[in-house]
């Protein structure tokens, strides 16, 4: 989950210790988030749990925001890895949707950290948008049809316009359209399910999701 320890091998002992503490802080942060949400995340409380007093954590994170940014990065990384693994195992769109749903349900607050209400001032750094692009690429591959598909709807035509965003992607407009539909339908079911808006209805949201993405 915390992904900075991969660099443990190299570096001097100082940096190794540093990375270790950063990881432990994040572990406690995830615990807090899982039980009470992001808003309840408190550097102070984490410090206390780790047996040190308040401001010590500022050696490791510039502030609450930087910690949250690090958590968001880890969450994206985790999702991207999950998606990639499913793709390499040769999944269908329905299977991929189920995998992502499982990932979200296994830790709702981690999902909400990425796709929930955005923090007003926050702007994702480049390395995070890069991870999000990784996910998109896998999506396009899973949704890919024949490479010379022609546009078949007004939105396809818009996507096919030269100079646009979709023009730079290695996929035909209908494929991009399918990927976007997949993504938005998935987010639709998931965001409502995780916010509890589907709970009183008593059916299995997974069934609805499966049919939503099946006819792409």
């Amino acid at each position: 989950m915390a992904t900075e320890s991969v660099t443990d091998a190299g570096r001097n002992p100082r940096e190794r210790y540093r990375a270790q503490v950063r990881d432990e802080v994040k572990r406690h942060a995830w615990e807090q988030i899982a039980t009470a949400g992001v808003t309840a995340l408190s550097l102070n409380a984490i410090a206390k749990e780790m047996g040190m007093s308040g401001p010590a954590l500022y050696r490791y994170f510039a502030g609450r925001d930087e910690l949250i940014t690090a958590l968001i990065r880890d969450a994206y990384r985790s999702l991207a890895d999950t998606v990639r693994a499913a793709h390499q195992a040769g999944t269908t769109v329905v299977g991929l949707a189920a995998v992502i749903r499982e990932w979200a349900l296994s830790d709702p607050h981690r999902y909400l950290l990425i796709y929930g209400t955005p923090v007003p001032g926050y702007h994702a750094p480049d390395d995070i948008t890069a991870i999000s692009d990784e996910i998109l690429v896998v999506l396009l591959e899973v949704c890919g049809g024949s490479p010379d598909e022609q546009p078949r709807s007004p939105f396809d035509v818009v996507l096919g316009l030269n100079g646009g965003w979709a023009g730079a992607l290695p996929a035909s407009p209908p494929t991009v359209h399918r990927a976007l539909s997949f993504w938005t339908r998935l987010q639709g079911v998931l965001s409502l399910e995780l916010a509890g808006h589907l709970t009183p209805m008593g059916f299995d949201p997974g069934l609805l999701l499966a049919e939503e993405v099946a006819d792409l």
Copy 2:
């Protein structure tokens, strides 16, 4: 926006004044939310803006949470009114989707208050779920087909099961299914758009949304 003043007519002056102040508090609250999000909402700051000091507001709202609950109620009310008005004007599903999208875009934080990341401890009171049911009823009417439609997918069958949630609704399983698809697809596009995840892609999310709900 603030809906308690409808009862202004009756009551003694004390209660009238009370309702007036509550409304003014909510007006300031919406302003704060619109500029900095819910997390930045501060009773203290509102009190200062209104020219009174801190704890005075606790005469009008038991605490931050009760204020937020009142705001959520107003947000739901506003959405329900918008949806109802569109329906009475005889809109199609595509038109309704556009209307709701406009409503959300006109005040993103109001939308996010309802459908964004939920507050961990929060459970909506009954009068709020009642408003949400109002919305559902309109949705069912807009999505309604012939009244004796037969189930045509596994999920339709699940919805048609006796004793289930959908069984109590005045609509056939396929109609309920359409309404759910409409709702989840709408939330999918909107939540991604409002969280800014669609911005770097440069296309008009309204176009995507229109096609998402057109083929129901």
